[in-house]
Amino acid sequence: MIEVSQLTKTYGAERAVDSISFDIRRGEVVGFLGPNGAGKTTTMKVITGYLPPTEGTVFVDGCDVREDTLSIRRDIGYLPESTPLYRDMVTYDYLAFVAAMRGVPSEKRNGRIADMTQICGLGDVLGKRIDALSKGYRQRVGLAQAMIHDPAILILDEPTSGLDPNQIVEIRELIKAIGREKTVVLSTHILPEVQASCDRVLIIHKGRLVADGAPQDLQANFVGERRVQFGVRAPLETATQALMDTGSVRILDSQASDDESLFTLSTDGKDDVRDALFHLAVARGWTLTELHQDRTNLEDVFRQLTAL
């Protein structure tokens, strides 16, 4: 549905986006994840037809953004970063204006506004001026304007930034509900957001695509340091020696309390060392008091990929 190939966008000498390629299929909910200034927003601006690409191509629905920009724009709903709205307009008038601009036929506009009011929970604020609304409501108005023409693709740039935790949960639920029917591309620098809402995550760093996959796959394929907490009822020296002999773990920290030895171990690679540790304890006849491996989360993946 969205095919981006070798996309490069430069501002003067700065390469904001550096030959990024990816395909987004219909119905996917995709998260662009990256530190601030990584190139997420620029990529979105190119897809929406706001910025022309410097190099490379972007096809939406088989149409080139350079050539068929108007027909692509009709298929896209867009919520720009920081949710710009005409603050001096009343919510209803604003939605009616956007509906007209997006080409919703006049006889259907009221129906669409009613639908959006219901989906986004705008019933209380339809008659209020936008500058009188709270940040959470403004965000909902922003989402409503993005969806008013029932677009096949929704592009949401940081849809939850600046909201309080309750509002974030609400907006996420909304995005999830929308994502059941539409192709959604959202950007964020907040990790739990991606895990909560996305089928797929593209990690962008310094204008380059550094990872692409389902959040759980990225975690599963993660190769890096893992930490294991290991405790046995055994003298510290004996246990330390036994662990050194296995050769598969490094001891980061060890301490003895009463007759128990506690270790913090570190291990590389994808192999789970917990089996080996369990068998070690059994073979020596030690009681196992603790065995815990810190779960790899997206945060580890993200940190490793973007700590360059």
Binding site: M1, R26, K45, T48, G49, Y50, L51, D61, G62, C63, D68, L70, S71, R73, R74, D75, I76, Y78, P80, E81, S82, P84, L85, Y86, R87, D88, M89, D93, F97, V98, A100, M101, R102, G103, V104, P105, Q145, H149, D150, P151, A152
Partner: protein, 260 residues
């Protein structure tokens, strides 16, 4: 997904209908213009501009009428270009600068419209506002026609000139507004440019003849004086139209650079 199965029903957009496309483009421009006009009247600016415009022209008209016993629109036509020098940049200063500052420019320019339609919508709104302001002064014309002889040619020429001059100032003001995100800068820049155009034909005495002729032709007031005499010459009309088009094109260029 195929292109024809967009969010809009097909019957609303019959394919390969050029006239339909023109109507669509015009109606979207009109939708933009309506929003701009409402924004004028939702803020005090429209009322301040209208009332001060009427107060100043009314004072000059009344002065001529009661103190000098001259029933003529000449006084109104003489002062109006001066008022426009200040008021039109005030009307247009927000047009793009404020959209840039608030970020709404990005929304506007990702609607399914061309950039020129966005500019046309703003220019159209200001032109309609000018028509409203100018048409209120018809009261003066009616007064003159009751009290004495209304010079029909000079009146039509004067009104036409006033409108064309105003639209040209508006196009320049919108262009200035597209160059910055600060409304005050947009106002000063717009004012400076139109003031320079206004002065051009008044400083020709110090110039060589050939340069003087060029400056006179480029001066905005020179053409207005011609029209005000009741001589509707296509050269004068063409001057305003081409200056407007030039400012419009410059604005299109600025927007195509997608300023941050």
């Amino acid at each position: 997904m195929h292109r024809s199965t967009t969010a809009l029903p097909d019957e609303a957009r019959p394919a390969s209908s050029a006239s339909r496309a023109v109507i669509d483009a015009a109606s979207l421009t009109w939708t933009l213009a309506r929003r701009e006009l409402r924004a004028y009247f939702d803020t005090p600016i429209a009322y301040v501009v209208l009332s001060v415009f009427l107060a100043i022209t009314g004072w000059f008209f009344g002065n001529a009428l009661f103190l000098q016993n001259v029933a003529s629109l000449r006084s109104v036509f003489s002062i109006a270009p001066f008022i426009f020098l200040f008021f039109i940049p005030a009307l247009t200063m927000a047009s793009f600068a404020e959209e840039r500052r608030a970020g709404t420019l990005e929304l506007l320019l990702t609607f399914p419209v061309r950039d020129w339609q966005v500019i046309a919508g703003k220019l159209l709104a200001t032109a309609i506002f000018l028509l409203i302001a100018i048409s209120i002064t018809f009261v003066y014309a009616i007064t003159v026609s009751r009290l004495g002889d209304l010079d029909f040619g000079a009146t039509v020429g004067g009104y036409l000139g006033l409108f064309l001059l105003g639209v040209m100032y508006a196009a320049v003001g919108i262009c200035a507004s597209s160059l910055t995100r600060n409304q005050i800068v947009a106002f000063i820049l717009g004012f400076a440019i139109i003031f320079m155009l206004f002065l051009l034909d008044k400083v020709t005495d110090f110039m060589p003849v050939w340069l003087g002729a060029i400056m006179q032709y480029l001066g905005s007031d020179y053409h207005f004086q011609n029209l005000m005499r009741g001589v509707i010459d296509s050269r004068d009309v063409l001057y305003y139209l081409s200056m407007t088009a030039f400012a419009f094109l410059l604005t299109t260029y600025t927007l195509s650079k997608r300023p941050e």
